[in-house]
Subunit: 111 residues, 2 copies
C-alpha cells in the first residue's frame, strides 16, 4: 500500500473494525488479517493503528473485550460489538457511502 493510500484510511479503520466484528467476536490480530484479506492488497492494517483504534472503540463503548485463547491456543484478547457499536456501524456505513459516492462521482471521467 502506498503512502497516500495510507492517508485514505483516516476515519475508515474504526468502521472496518466494527464491520469485522459484526460477523462475530475476534481477537485483534485476527481482525487485522481479516480486513487485509478482504481488501486484497488495497488496505494494510498496521498494528500501531489497530491497537489504539481498538482501545478507542472500547473506551467509546462500541466494543467490549475479553481475554481468551486463539485458534492456535495463544493468549488473545477477543472483541465483540456492543449494541451501541452495532448502531455506530450502521450510521458510519451510511456516511461512508454518501461520502465515497460523492467523491467517486466527482473523480469519474465525466465529473
Amino acid at each position: 500500500m502506498s503512502r497516500s493510500e495510507r492517508k485514505l484510511l483516516h476515519g475508515t479503520l474504526d468502521t472496518l473494525i466494527l464491520k469485522t466484528l459484526s460477523h462475530g467476536p475476534r481477537h485483534g490480530y485476527s481482525i487485522a488479517r481479516w480486513i487485509e484479506e478482504k481488501a486484497g492488497d488495497a488496505i494494510l492494517v498496521e498494528e500501531g493503528s489497530l491497537y489504539p483504534a481498538l482501545y478507542r472503540l472500547e473506551k467509546k463503548g462500541l466494543l467490549k473485550s475479553e481475554w481468551g485463547l486463539s485458534e492456535l491456543e495463544r493468549r488473545a484478547k477477543f472483541y465483540s460489538l456492543t449494541p451501541h457499536g452495532s448502531a455506530a456501524l450502521e450510521a458510519d456505513t451510511e456516511e461512508w457511502l454518501r461520502f465515497s459516492n460523492a467523491v467517486t462521482a466527482i473523480l469519474a471521467p465525466g465529473g
Copy 2:
C-alpha cells in the same frame, strides 16, 4: 456534514482540488464552491483546510498560481494544474478507486 465525515476527507481533498482544476483554472474560493456543489451536502470544504491544501499542492509543484480578477472583478488567486499535477491526479484517482471499492465491498451487507 457530520464530524466523522470530516475525518473521511483526510487525504481526498488534495485529489478533489486537482480534479476541479482539470477542467481549467480557478481561484481558491471558487474551487471550494465547485466541490461542494458537485458533492451536494456530502462534502464541506472549510477555508482552513482549503488554503493550506492549495499552498501544499503548489509547493509540491502540482499547481501553479497567478493573481487575477474573479468573475465579480475582485482580486483572486487563480490556480492551474501543472503536468506533474495532471499525473498526480491520475494516480490518486486510481488509488482512490482501489481503496474505496475495497472499503465499500467490505461494508456491503454481504461483506
